[in-house]
Symmetry: none
């Protein structure tokens, strides 16, 4: 009984029942709990399941639609700092794109009164700016309830039709060697489409994400025009990003 066979069994069980228990599975596979736990740790690292105490569940079960404003609380101070820097880059009359995600969202209260046009695929951004001075344009298509945004073919296709002055993108990971990375191919494709439609790309990325790669690498560093981060970013690292050709705002 090797890892491959166990992995097969684990995933099949999860697929069937939605969950599994470590001790029970260990008994079935004639092995010890520690081995099962190590297997589960591997699979969890690949995102194929989510660990619980005593077992595991299918990924989508655990990823309940997290209320947006709560999630945004993580690193909120840094994100607000970043958004203040970003908002200062916006001129009246601009057409900008705002990505979905908790990093870019704090931009909204800062630009409600501005005479600009905002293109977005994010529901929270839409809700926040609807009824403000801003002219909002929405990328349509299927709603991804979990991410509170529109994703998919139609959204990407529609974004391609707009030309925007500045795109403000979030990202899940960024590194000098591997560029931009995301937890979801869907988000990545939206980011790519928005970047392609923009004259200048601003990447809003708090320091905790610098030099952190996520599972899906989707673009080189050169996609980005300006990196906007916070003072927690090490000065040496900022210098390296500047050497790599990026403008960096701290």
């Amino acid at each position: 009984m090797n890892f491959q066979l166990r992995k097969q069994h684990l995933l099949a069980t999860l697929e069937q029942h939605g969950s599994l228990e470590v001790t029970e599975t260990a008994r079935q596979l004639q092995t010890t709990p520690i081995t099962i736990r190590r297997d589960l740790a591997h699979l969890a690292a690949k995102g194929l399941l989510v660990r619980t105490h005593g077992g595991a569940v299918r990924p989508h079960v655990a990823n309940a639609p997290v209320a947006f404003h709560r999630k945004a609380a993580a690193n909120l101070a840094q994100k607000e700092h970043i958004c203040r820097l970003a908002a200062a880059q916006i001129a009246d009359g601009d057409t900008i794109f705002i990505d979905c995600g908790s990093t870019t969202f704090p931009l909204c209260p800062l630009i409600r009164h501005r005479k600009i046009r905002v293109v977005t695929n994010s529901l929270p951004v839409l809700f926040e700016l609807a009824g403000s001075a801003v002219q909002v344009v929405v990328a349509g298509g299927e709603v991804d309830a979990e991410r509170q945004a529109m994703h998919g073919l139609v959204a990407v296709e529609q974004l391609r039709r707009y030309q925007v002055d500045k795109a403000f993108l979030g990202v899940d990971g960024l590194s000098l060697r591997r560029g931009l990375s995301a937890n979801s191919e869907q988000e990545a494709s939206i980011s790519l489409a928005a970047a392609a439609a923009a004259r200048h790309v601003y990447l809003l990325c708090d320091a905790s994400k610098l030099e952190r790669d996520k599972y899906f690498q989707f673009a080189p560093l050169s996609l980005v025009g300006t990196l906007v981060t916070d003072p927690a970013a090490p000065a040496a690292l900022v210098a390296q990003y500047r050497e790599a050709g990026l403008l960096v705002l701290v």
Copy 2:
């Protein structure tokens, strides 16, 4: 039975019923109230529900447009009656279109738990159904802040790409002689596009709008398959609409 599975059950119950009770849920899940309370505390911290004394309720995600609710108050009882009739026409697995407007909006709470796909250009509908069991598809494009909906070329074009089983349209006026009329060309073009994409068109129209023409006539009566109205509609008038070839639900 671990936390993840209980959480699943708790959120599903909330989604379906709108509320739950601690003791009742503890009994169902074969555990103690204290455990359920701790689970609820976790989920409440994430904003996924709101604690009450003895249970929990769904968070009112609808930080929804106030203006909309105010307008919706007119003839609300009639509109709810109409929407109940309309909801009964929807089968699991259907893809439906829901028009913007106060008449069609009360459909939303009636279909939150249904396994259907909803195409819409209405922001209130989107807000109400985001995060429910329904798969929402949004027509993109420029947001019309006043009408809280997406209108214009892009939205119409995108609607044309979808094929829906049933379209539930609102209208500002309806008459035997002049057909459907609206206060806005924008809304009319959306209605036309949705009707063209639908296998069957339901027109939701309370009795106060029957035999009332508005300034922009945009379609003949024959566009409509079924007229859904309320008991305030004169029986003679209902008979005339039936003679004109419409199915009428009262």
